[in-house]
């Protein structure tokens, strides 16, 4: 296994200011930040965001980058964490022009490079969709024709992040398939019951192991454990399965 990352400038905190905010779901928002000197990043990487109070108290958390770099603008999608001191500030208080500090890009393993030619399976649980969406957007931006499949597990239809864009991309981005698994409540007219992701979902909507796809799995720990075990059980090689687990990070 090898992995490399952009190390230059990684150690330094940069000032980032809010340019724009977009509501994705009742509990998630995308923040577009202006970060002068941003060095660029690969889809799948994340940043640390640091907040400082008047008295010097600081808190920092990690957030996935939601799209490919757009010059010195980056997009983060923030999921509200109950009692989360950083996420609740970013969603409720943080306003246009306000500064925060960011550092990154971070993480050199859970990344997709547009130069890769293997088919890609993305499996998202809840807000785990964010770094996978960055890969979908980067694929299109790079004009890649690598076949992509996304399996996206959510509680209810209202919890789907990037819902309109995913609908549009599934129609327009050639070679991108999107499948949903609903765990609590299905959309009207949906065939099938709410259920947790299982073998049939991964088998039906994934790739056969003979195609040697790259598999990216991101979500809460239990979800990632389940899906990674299913993929191994279906015959995918361990080294083709990359995982990122989302803990409660406030």
């Amino acid at each position: 296994m090898t992995a490399t990352t952009t190390v230059a400038g990684l150690a330094s905190w940069r000032v980032a200011r809010l340019v724009q905010r977009r509501t994705e779901t009742p509990t998630a928002q995308t923040l577009i930040l202006h970060v002068p000197g941003w060095p660029g990043h690969l889809p799948g990487q994340h940043v640390d965001v640091r907040l400082t109070a008047e008295d010097g108290y600081q808190a920092a958390r990690s957030y996935s980058l939601a799209g490919p770099a757009d010059g010195d603008r980056i997009a983060l999608t923030v999921q509200r964490v109950p009692d989360g001191e950083v996420s609740s500030y970013l969603i409720d208080v943080y306003a246009e022009g306000y500064p925060v500090e960011v550092r990154g890009p971070l993480g050199g393993w859970f990344v997709w490079r547009p130069t890769e030619s293997a088919p890609v399976l993305l499996v998202a649980g809840g807000s785990g969709v964010v770094p996978l969406m960055a890969m979908i957007r980067a694929r299109r931006a790079a004009g890649s024709r690598v076949p992509f499949r996304l399996i996206y597990s959510v509680r209810t239809p209202a919890d789907v992040c990037y819902a309109d864009e995913l609908r549009r991309r599934a129609r327009d981005d050639q070679g991108l398939d999107v499948a949903y698994v609903y765990t609590r409540e299905v959309p009207e007219g949906w065939r099938g019951e709410p259920h947790r992701i299982g073998l049939a979902d991964v088998n039906t909507h994934g790739w056969p192991p003979e195609l040697e796809p790259l598999c990216y799995v991101c979500g809460p720990t239990g979800f990632v454990e389940t899906v990674a075990d299913l993929l191994v059980g279906l015959g995918h090689a361990n080294r083709r399965i990359r995982t990122e687990r989302f803990g409660p990070t406030g």
């Binding site: 992995a3 990684l10 150690a11 905190w13 920092a60 958390r61 306000y98 050199g108 080294r239 399965i241």
Partner: protein, 199 residues
């Protein structure tokens, strides 16, 4: 001090032991790993210590659990910023495993079932500061947390405590492991906030 974000209050902890800089306290036990969780059967499990001269020392599961056991209670600090206090483990001190091993090595590379590696100075594995543990709180260490056995080196960020540990190679020259190659710090002292290369 950083740039003030207007209106940020934050939630300060009052009382209790200090945390390393940039860490927050959790009662959960989140998981950081790069791929699927390896399932390692105990009847074929072994721990292999190899020296720079090529000598090998091997312990099977019954042999490892038959060695003198220690029960460290330690604070752990993950590079993803959570800290968990007072975790209880049981296992074998690296001092016990290294006892009688003739080596001039200064570095160690821990390797795991599943292919994961991480590097540490050999000195950090000595002096009652590192263990191979197989029990967490009162039960067998769950696979997602590194069972059947993991390294426990709590004075460094927790990725250095290699899960699913299979062995340790003693090396004359430092050799970065998996996360270190991916951008994490070579040493990883939480109190000096050595998270990433260049820290």
């Amino acid at each position: 001090m950083g740039i003030v974000s207007p209106g940020f209050q934050g939630r300060r902890r009052t009382g209790g032991p200090a945390l390393p800089p940039g860490q927050y306290l959790t009662d959960d036990f989140p998981v950081l790993s790069a791929g699927p969780t390896p399932k390692v059967p105990l009847d074929t499990w072994e721990f292999v210590l190899s020296t720079e001269a090529g000598a090998e020392f091997r312990w099977t599961w019954p042999e490892l659990t038959g060695l003198p056991q220690e029960t460290p209670t330690v604070d752990i600090h993950c590079v993803t910023r959570w800290s968990k206090l007072g975790t209880r483990w049981q296992g074998v001190s690296l001092d016990t495993l290294l006892d009688g091993v003739d080596t001039a090595a200064r570095y160690a590379l821990a390797h795991s079932y599943g292919g994961y590696t991480t590097n540490l100075p050999l000195d950090d594995l000595r002096g009652g500061r590192a263990w191979v543990v197989h029990t967490y709180e009162d039960g067998p260490l769950p696979a997602e947390h590194g069972g059947p056995a993991r390294l426990l080196v709590p004075h460094l960020y927790f990725w250095k405590s290699a899960k699913w540990v299979h062995g340790i190679r003693l090396l004359v020259d430092d050799q970065p492991g998996f996360w270190e190659t991916a951008g994490y710090h070579d040493y990883g002292d939480p109190w000096r906030e050595q998270r990433y290369q260049g820290d």
